[in-house]
Symmetry: D2
Subunit: 364 residues, 4 copies
């Protein structure tokens, strides 16, 4: 069934595969009158782009975006914004051996089960390259959020067993931008990078955790009972390839706690009502409470590794082994920070429109 | 915005609040010809019902369900199934003091921010009683799953710092049914129950973890890119009140792992393709792979506690304190097992219909 | 597939059948703070109720509505409003003969094809009684529209070959309320009533046309390209049982016209921009232009007639004949006026919310 | 709000405007394994293309389609099919005078009211060129329908006051293809063409009626209560620019009839159940009955005419006049036949998937 569209009022539809002609996104529901340029989108794609450090894949893509519609004289006009990125550095040869031998940890096997006829080149539409669509949508969503002074920041808080120390909220973005791991704890970043390079050297890969914090979200976003803000965030984040867990606020730690220790109590900060702690991560009863929204995702190690693995030859129906020699990220967390930001930004844009906090027709 | 409907082909709409006249659900999209009785639904409600052990709330509700439509001569007829449960044991007096004093950890404050005019009695529609709607829907979904020999089982794996040991999959349901905590590790269950009673005695509450395992799901469920099976499960589970984290398979552990250690390798079990491990929890690339589907939710301690807490009087706009003396669950995990099963069952029913594995019009 | 929910922001889900326990509706997305009573809904149901004149069915239903949720202290609270009407005057005996003999013009045959197991009593969910759900939703939508001084008025403009003359807009409601046909042209109404009674006497039924005019709709409602206001109105109106045609403005007459004769030209009425004519029926390019919105529906004669008709016995697979001796409306147009108003009102409420002209969370 | 996506299982999203870079469509939900080439789509675009006769606009567009994704080795692979058409023959100069002077009959005024910032060049997204998206989607839908031997045929049955005589169903497509008006009654076609050329000469335009007949649709399509097949067809057809009325079967004629004269009676044709007449146009109770599906649309005269018309200068807020000298179709009906076919084909593809008559994942 059609599963490539998401969002109710800020709605994105994406298309394209790793080795196809182009990838892209159509964003529908963005109000008219928003200042938007091709460069706004390109800037976010640059942050996601491969090949910008020694810990990413060596596939070289400049990922230049072309905007086909929806911007008129420098501003959105309320019609769908279609934007595409052409694939250029395609090397499909490496994938032919895996045509009938599903790679462990990848979607090959499940896509074959579901669709029969399946694009196995570069992971097809299961490739991480599909997140180009997310980032295009995220770039536009961020422009909307900016109107309300809302800011979304992601950073890597764990790689393998290396955990980052807590960094003051105001410094996270700045510090995370200063190292290729995108970890705000600069000391931990050094160790993380070493870990990643070790994994790379061994033909292995390594997982981690990405945290996203959103500042400035007003109270009142989220639609109970089913379309709660945290439910929609969980869907958007879990839907990113390689993500296997999502937490809001203190998340799994709350499973070990008592209410007396973790309930967020209210106090007055001038005329503003705030909570003394933020274990809830800014969402209570499915609705934002005005505190920073904190989400965390568990990212599995990228499954493509050059170490021998067992699989089954589906044509011969016999067990066999494979080694994957393509170009891959030894740790996808740094690049996923941008995707997580995009996912969160789009959910928030959607809910701001749903809550009537942004006019759905025109920016005024 | 309308947020009380979920599912595309197996679609549920719920309504009702804690102290209103009735709660209920409308299930639309269930194919015709499914044998279904009022008792099928009542049986699941009995499992969720309060007052059936010493570790649940003392509110006494018999939760008798009445089916208004959709069943004709013992079978569904393809039209919406509406079912309601009347509230009977209502004691609203305890809630008047909190009218303008939002209870920490509850949705009071955020609902006021969003809606202004708000039903604060018994938590209104933010109450755990709204999960009656989930359970009604889950009961019907389970009947559909049964046609394909799919079974959903939940159990409590952690309460506070007490963690259950691994129990063989085949024994979980049986063992979990033998203690009020619904923990399959019978020894741990005793300690957990003690922990819960301690919290209760102190007027406190305690969190935990609920695991849900689904057996017999065929490969091919899930709609990339946005409506992946794990994404939809994450949304459904995170949307349950008190849930602050969701994991699929090994979840957050994968953030500490390497691919060589955790990639699920394929092997042949007769003519069936299986994986040697199941770190992915039965879902790869957003699509089921035929292995058991494993999800885990972090459940925060129920926020209603009789210990004094700080809050703000919204009318006087001054800081104050409250103590909540109502009737509450000291640990909601045991009762959430049924809700988690319902949430998972409904997502699977929806995806079975989407994947064409159940005929959408009639059971044949 | 689930087809009993409609609307994006003002969303209605209905359930129930002609001879089942109850019929009802759940309205989700109505903002909090709207003054609403059970009587507001009952008043609209009274207008639709059978047995209030000699030209309606003799089935006697008082159609008393019970509101189960969503109203708190006299106002909506932003949660779903569930309302039900119990069936009381059920006489199923008349329907057993038709169990396997589909009645011409009714949905019997198509429902059997689709669902197999099918509620054939009183037309099941194909009965006109399901419009009780529409009217419940319409009553609430009208309360919302009233906040913006928007008024929806329907009247019968044709019965058989009797056509009503044009009546000044301001008089339509008043005059239509003065005769059982609900025709604003009082002279034509007399002839129409005679026509209907003749058909009734012969065991036959007769079709007609119902026009709905909505006053006070602001410019800007409608979402191009697919969710245009006229497209949504067409869907809502064509979805009413017995409706086989929908026109906006001059409708089919425009197929015979030239642009020079029918283009609506603009002029200034003080500071307001209006059109000299309204052939477009208030909608241009899929968006309202501030002029009255005019829709017209073609209503087929109710198919239940006591004249002998040919059909097929589906069990014996042989041709046969039937005569339908139940209780039926000889002309459904008068009662459909209320249903058409409801359908239009709900579409407008949905689009007012979509366009941000009503705050989606709370009435302010 | 986002209104550029339609369909539940066969879902289309379109984008682009008359003078923008490109127009296009993303089709999501098409099962994998369908043979599909760029040429399949191009062939339908050729039928819609302007400049292929003396009764269409003189804008010259070759409308060459480029497929960006979703086809792998000659077959669909279950992922979204994105296809675009670049605009080439753009002449924006003619539109500057109308920047603040809304053209009567066009969406200019309503789009300004709704969006404020608005693309007024060539009608922007309100232009007939947006139906390129429909035709792309229709081309793919038709390929799906072909698998079930379903065929959709449109023809012009009226232009101004010239009405075509009834032509045997089997001859309509062949005859309609033999004249530029696409009218199956060849004699009427000659008169219609003359009428159109007269209007063209006078700088005027003329309306008409387009009928669409679909052969081979199985019984069982349509989802009561709100998503009936006729309701969805009405929405799809009314949503096409210039359409102001929709009929199913005998449509408005039924408003003048009695049930005894128009109820479709059943008979046995061998083992098949058919109706002796088809006044219902193949849909009863919102569900297809296996007879040909017949829809008719009222098409208003294209509003762009070179005759002087009154309008208002929105900047100066004073009344004024305009003459439109652009390139326009004097009668859009012939070209709308292809768009109507596309709209109907997409609705049917969607409902075939909903009814489980096409496997949603793969063609088998």
């Amino acid at each position: 069934m059609a599963g490539n569209t998401t969002g109710d009022m800020f709605r994105i539809t994406t298309f394209g595969s790793s080795h196809g002609k182009a990838l892209g996104a159509v964003i529908d529901g963005c109000p008219a009158g928003l200042e938007l340029t091709r460069e706004d989108i390109q800037a976010e794609l640059e942050r996601r782009r491969p090949g910008i450090s020694n810990i990413t894949t060596t596939r070289e893509e400049t990922d230049q975006v072309e905007v086909l519609s929806g911007i008129f004289k420098g501003k959105t006009d309320g019609t769908p914004i279609a934007a595409i990125v052409h694939n250029t550095d395609i090397d499909s040869s490496a994938y032919e051996p895996f045509k009938n031998k599903p790679r462990p940890g990848h979607g090959d096997y499940t896509w074959i089960c579901k669709y029969g006829h399946y694009d196995y080149l570069g992971g097809g539409r299961g490739s991480g390259r599909v997140t180009i669509g997310h980032v295009i949508g995220g770039a536009i969503a961020k422009k909307l959020l900016k109107l309300l002074a809302i800011k979304v920041v992601s950073h890597v808080t764990q790689v393998g067993d290396v955990k980052a120390k807590h960094v003051a909220y105001g410094l996270i973005e700045k510090y995370a931008n200063q190292n290729p791991v995108r970890c705000a704890d600069q000391k931990a970043a050094v160790v993380m990078e070493k870990k990643i390079l070790e994994a790379k050297k061994e033909g292995d890969s390594i997982g981690g955790i990405v945290e996203t914090i959103t500042f400035g979200v007003p109270a009142g976003l989220g639609e109970p009972v089913f379309d709660k803000l945290d439910a929609d965030l969980a869907k958007a984040l879990m839907g990113i390839g390689a993500v296997k867990g999502v937490e809001i606020g203190f998340g799994f730690e709350l499973g070990q706690s008592t209410a007396s220790a973790t309930n967020d109590e209210y106090y007055l900060d001038g005329k503003h009502i705030k909570t003394t702690t933020n274990t809830s991560g800014g969402i209570i009863g499915g609705i934002s409470n005005g505190m920073p929204i904190v989400t965390r995702i568990a990212v599995k190690p990228t499954p493509s590794i050059s170490i021998q693995q067992k699989t089954v030859d589906l044509q011969k129906m016999e067990e066999t082994t494979i080694k994957i020699e393509g170009r891959h990220d030894p740790c996808i967390c740094p690049r996923l920070t941008i995707v997580a930001e995009a996912a969160v930004a789009m959910v928030l844009a959607d809910h701001l429109l749903k809550a009537g906090l942004i006019n759905p027709c025109k920016i005024s």
